[in-house]
Subunit: 280 residues, 2 copies
């Protein structure tokens, strides 16, 4: 998905929130925010997708505030919170008529734990709502079929905390050869390998890292090498808006599972804010 002019105010708001999480020093917050303003001023939007710019923004915040992981606290908080919910989520799936559907919906509900579009969200309400909510884009039957015939699956994770909900879905896919992809370094509240291990994903899937934009944090999510891997899988499950922004134009067998939280993604997908989506 291309970067719209409307992304700019959103990047600036995100930069402010990240600076505040990174440091209590207001002068440093101002310095970081202004460095982002300068970067956004210099960056041509054309031929850039939003995650490419988001990387730069958050790299600047980490660098200027000298805080390598501004969202560490909320990531830990939501990993723990979601782990506490795990037994009751498992019960919900076990008691449901259609376990795969329920697990898929829960995995999408977990996608609300996203500090990119907003630092204000209501996890409990989202979990409650999702059970009665229809998919705004409903390729679920296609998804179920594709899962049946697939052996090699790549699952692109999104946020810390959310990955507990992914674990619920992963546990419904037993017997498959699954690679769970996380970031190679901190960016916003995206899950890293530490998060994946903390919530036990390493016991059900192989884990692979892609770059957060910093050197040495793994192959790039947009690199030819990585795209080739996605194409080589029987099926790719892509969680969240960032992965959609990066991969919406890639020709592979990708199913995008997400909750719509951004007005531009809503427009791009012809959906509304708050909608849930399984889109191939």
């Amino acid at each position: 998905m291309k970067t719209y002019l409307d992304c700019i105010p959103c990047f600036v708001r995100q930069a402010l929130e990240a600076s505040k999480m990174a440091t209590g020093d207001e002068a440093l917050q101002e310095k970081a925010l202004k460095a982002v303003l300068l970067e956004l001023e210099k960056t041509p939007l054309k031929n850039k997708i939003p995650p490419q710019i988001a990387r730069k923004v958050h790299r600047i915040i980490r660098k200027v505030t000298k805080n390598n992981d501004p969202y560490a606290k909320v990531k830990d908080e939501y990993n723990r919170k979601a782990l506490k919910m795990y037994p009751s989520l498992k019960r919900t799936v076990a008691e449901s008529k259609d376990k795969l559907l329920t697990a898929t919906k829960l995995a999408i509900a977990g996608n609300i734990i996203d500090f990119g579009p907003s630092s204000k969200f209501n996890l409990d309400k989202t979990i409650e709502d999702v059970s009665d909510q229809d998919f705004a884009i409903n390729h679920f039957n296609r998804f179920r079929k594709a899962l049946k015939s697939s052996k090699k699956i790549i699952y692109l994770g999104d946020n810390a905390g959310e990955i507990v909900f992914d674990r619920i879905l992963l546990e419904e896919l037993k017997g498959k050869d699954i690679t769970f992809v996380v970031k190679g370094g901190p960016i916003i509240n995206d899950a890293t390998i530490e998060d994946a291990k903390f919530v036990g994903i390493d016991k059900i899937a192989k884990i692979e890292v892609v770059s957060n934009g910093d050197p040495g944090t793994g192959p790039d999510r947009l690199s030819k090498e990585f795209i080739r891997k996605l194409k080589g899988a029987d099926l790719v499950i892509s969680k969240g808006q960032g992965n959609y922004e990066a991969l919406s134009e890639v020709d592979a067998n990708i199913f995008f599972l997400l909750k719509v939280k951004c007005p531009l993604i809503a427009r791009d997908m012809k959906t509304k804010i708050g909608d849930i989506v399984v889109s191939s």
Copy 2:
């Protein structure tokens, strides 16, 4: 009121909205928005109040887009819309037990017509709500008394459309020597002398202009000359957030009438978004 770091994302959003109103040319919108990013990067926040920065932002938009009045259309729309409401608003006041209270509340309801904090608002609902809404800061009795003993009143107007609601209140102040202050040139949807004449304020009050920040648009709202005038009045009625931001620290007999629309003003006034305020 001082400028907070939180004002920055809001200025950027405002700049984007203004650019879109100013021109349909996306390249020009980007150019204008980026010029604003650069200006915000250069501007130290310390010792600056938000209206000083807002002026710069909107001056840049007007200059880069070569559109001297990006909000002309919505200003005209809301002047006309409010004028159509005028007879029913007058009836509401006439039929009320406490005419001054009703007119004051309506003048505050009209303050929702503010394209600064957001271009999305619901005028009809605000008018409806306000009749049952208590003031979050209630110096209304003090306001009533001060009006009784005042001859020379300065009324600082805020937005186009809103000034029809101000006219309702002005008409309850008959016999006073009233100066109604508007902007000397376009900025956001602030009322100018043309707006004031269009809705008939010139028939009930003298009109004076203060600068929108452009050269030749009158004395500055923050100038010693203007502050001296405010101090010389028996009573100053100040409408809206911008005037509060500019004058909250000025030692004159000012009553701030406004609807709270910004989280920082809410914090500064110890109120909530949506609250209505009569504060001396």
